[in-house]
């Protein structure tokens, strides 16, 4: 399971980095989204992968899953979501004001 998750995080990150290096704003926004998915999964995995265990104290529980990364991921998701919304609006504004969707606001030759 660890190997699969690591592979997924790696693939998402690689896609994200590739897309961020594109010259149009839409792929860049998608790339940022991929990166934030990757980092959310990464944060989640940092509490170690545990299946079917409670995060809260329970006298009958034999083992626990770490609740802190879940709280961190929740915060990171909220922030990432707000930032994505903002950057989409900004990209639309740039498209309207600069007349094209190149990240430098220029027409390609």
């Amino acid at each position: 399971m660890e190997a699969l998750l690591a592979l997924i995080i790696g693939t998402l990150t690689a896609c994200g980095v590739y897309l961020i290096l594109r010259a149009r704003t839409f792929p860049v926004v998608l790339g940022l989204t991929f990166l934030s998915y990757a980092v959310n999964l990464f944060l989640f995995a940092m509490g170690r992968l545990v299946v079917g265990r409670p995060p809260l104290i329970d006298p009958s529980a034999a083992a626990y899953t770490d609740p802190l990364p879940q709280a961190l991921v929740l915060t990171a998701i909220v922030i990432g979501f707000a930032m994505t919304a903002f950057v989409i609006m900004l990209a639309l504004k740039a498209r309207a004001e600069l007349g094209n969707d190149h990240v430098d606001g220029m027409h390609e030759p």
Partner: protein, 513 residues
């Protein structure tokens, strides 16, 4: 009983500079339909209150004590803590003074350009104060996001094509930086099981050899993120365009933004990766000095090649962060102390020049702030004197505080193995900055043509000149009280280089470290 009450009030004091701007921002949002005069008065009063809070906090920590406020009374390292020491209070004072003058300038009319200027301004102060006070790595990330989100809004304030383009680059590169921050924080948590800075310091020093590469990777990743915020070479490219194109009060407030990155580098490199940190000792410090010197050189070359005054000042901000981190990179009490003396001075000087450049641009019609032959400006002698004083401050010529700051850094560098490099680049850079600003000054004030009749603009009002003069006066005041202030910054550096006090204050007396 009375002592208990006093102890509670003192620890509550730590969260007050975070709460005040947050509540002020919310109140301004709710009262956005009120008359602009009331909102201005309220925002300025709150900014003044922030100065008072910062000064009271400084007084409380001046004896070297470290105040800790545990949110929700959860003990560290389980809960989130806010920590105030000399460094945090020093930066709070700098931020609040700068914010007041920038806001006073904004209240002269540029706050009309967007609906939420005052809200964003208060939230920016909220993010800055929180970043300086937090004692938790993840919370630092959250406050970074708060101040960045407010800065995105302020950067776009007023609109315009160039502003939008600069903001797009700024936002995207900072979002990538935030992602890297989360990767670093996640790795720290995965390996060391904590995100509390003091607890990280204890655990990182005792890390097992097989986990060492991971901790080093996370540490350097964190350094890269902070270097991006501080605009160190090669991660500085976002800064000149963003700062040169935004509105003047926003640019003035942003003079402290790069210092947040510098603060984080200083905090993490002394607390977690200090000289006594065992396997991770001096992880960041080894990189800092060469990168900082390179930043200084690149910033000054950029300033010399700028065609616009505001772009030139933006490059001077890059250079000043280079100077500051050169001092920090020396790693000694005298070096870090000198850097901390230089920090408020360079912030005030850069902010004053940004405001002044806006006034100059307003006088030159279509020439704006381009460095070319333009019309004679109204009240040109006042503008000229202010420009001259600002230039002296930022270049570091005697008799003002810039000279004292640079002198302290040079004196601290003498014993360092790389003294030749530091002295050479700092002194050579000073000469280059002097020539650059002398050229700009003579182009703006001496090589003037007669203004066309009918296009004359009213001269800058005294009220608009006052914030500039105020910021420059702060720089001059730092010269008058240079003795006590540099003693105080040296004490601050001493406190930073002995992180045991910080760790004990956060984790309780019986903790190791």
């Amino acid at each position: 009983m009375r002592q208990q009450v006093a102890a509670v009030t003192t620890s509550q004091l730590v969260i007050a500079p975070v709460l005040l701007p947050l509540l002020a921002g919310i109140a301004l949002l709710l009262g956005r339909s009120l008359d602009l005069r009331w909102r201005r008065a309220f925002a300025l009063t709150c900014a003044l209150g922030q100065i008072v809070l910062a000064l009271v906090l400084t007084r409380a920590v001046a004896d070297g004590s470290v105040l800790v406020y545990a949110l929700g009374n959860w003990p560290a390292p389980f809960g989130i803590v806010l920590v105030a020491d000399r460094l945090a209070a020093w930066l709070l004072v700098t931020t609040s003074l700068l914010a007041w003058f920038a806001l006073a300038y904004g209240c002269l009319g540029s706050d009309r350009d967007g609906r939420h200027f005052h809200v964003l301004f208060q939230l920016q102060i909220f993010g800055l104060s929180g970043a300086f006070l937090t004692g938790d790595l993840f919370n630092l990330f959250v406050f970074f996001e708060v101040l960045l989100l407010a800065s995105y809004g302020l950067l776009l304030h007023g609109g315009g094509r160039r502003r939008t383009r600069a903001a797009l680059h700024y936002v995207v590169i900072n979002l990538v930086g935030s992602t890297l921050f989360l990767f670093a924080a996640g790795t720290f948590y995965g390996v060391l099981g904590t995100l509390n800075l003091a607890d990280l310091a204890v655990k990182a020093a005792a890390v097992s050899p097989q986990d060492l590469p991971l901790v080093r990777t996370a540490g350097l990743l964190l350094f890269a993120v902070f270097a991006l915020k501080a605009a160190l070479v090669p991660l500085y490219l976002w800064l000149p365009a963003a700062y040169a194109n935004t509105s003047a009060p926003a640019a003035a407030l942003f003079a402290i933004m790069t210092k947040v990155g510098a603060y984080s580098i200083l905090r993490v490199s002394t607390l977690i990766f200090g000289a006594d940190a065992g396997p991770v000792a001096n992880l960041i410090a080894d990189w800092l000095l060469p990168v900082a010197l390179l930043t200084l050189a690149v910033g000054l070359v950029g300033a010399a090649g700028s065609e616009r005054l505001r772009l030139q000042i933006a490059y001077l901000v890059v250079a000043s962060i280079g100077t500051l981190l050169t001092a920090v990179g020396l790693g000694t009490v005298s070096g870090i102390g000198a850097g901390l003396y230089y920090l408020p001075h360079s912030t005030f000087a850069a902010a004053a020049l940004f405001l002044l450049a806006d006034l100059i641009a307003g006088q030159r019609g279509e020439h704006a702030d381009r460095l070319e032959r333009g019309p004679v400006m109204g009240r040109h002698w006042v503008l000229g004197v202010l420009f001259f004083l600002g230039a002296i401050l930022i270049v570091g010529l005697p008799p003002l505080s810039g000279f004292i700051g640079k002198f302290l850094i040079l004196r601290a560098a003498l014993d360092h193995p790389a003294a030749v490099w530091v002295l050479g680049i700092l002194l050579g850079g000073g000469l280059l900055a002097l020539l650059t600003l002398a050229r700009s000054g003579s182009l703006l004030f001496y090589h003037t043509a007669e203004a066309d009749a009918g296009t004359a603009v009213p001269p800058p009002t005294w009220r608009a000149l006052a914030p500039v003069a105020g910021l420059l006066t702060l720089g001059a005041a730092m010269t008058l009280w240079a003795g006590p202030l540099s003693d105080y910054t040296a004490a601050m550096a001493d406190q930073l280089l002995q992180p045991d006090g910080y760790v004990r204050a956060v984790l309780g007396e019986g903790s190791p470290g």
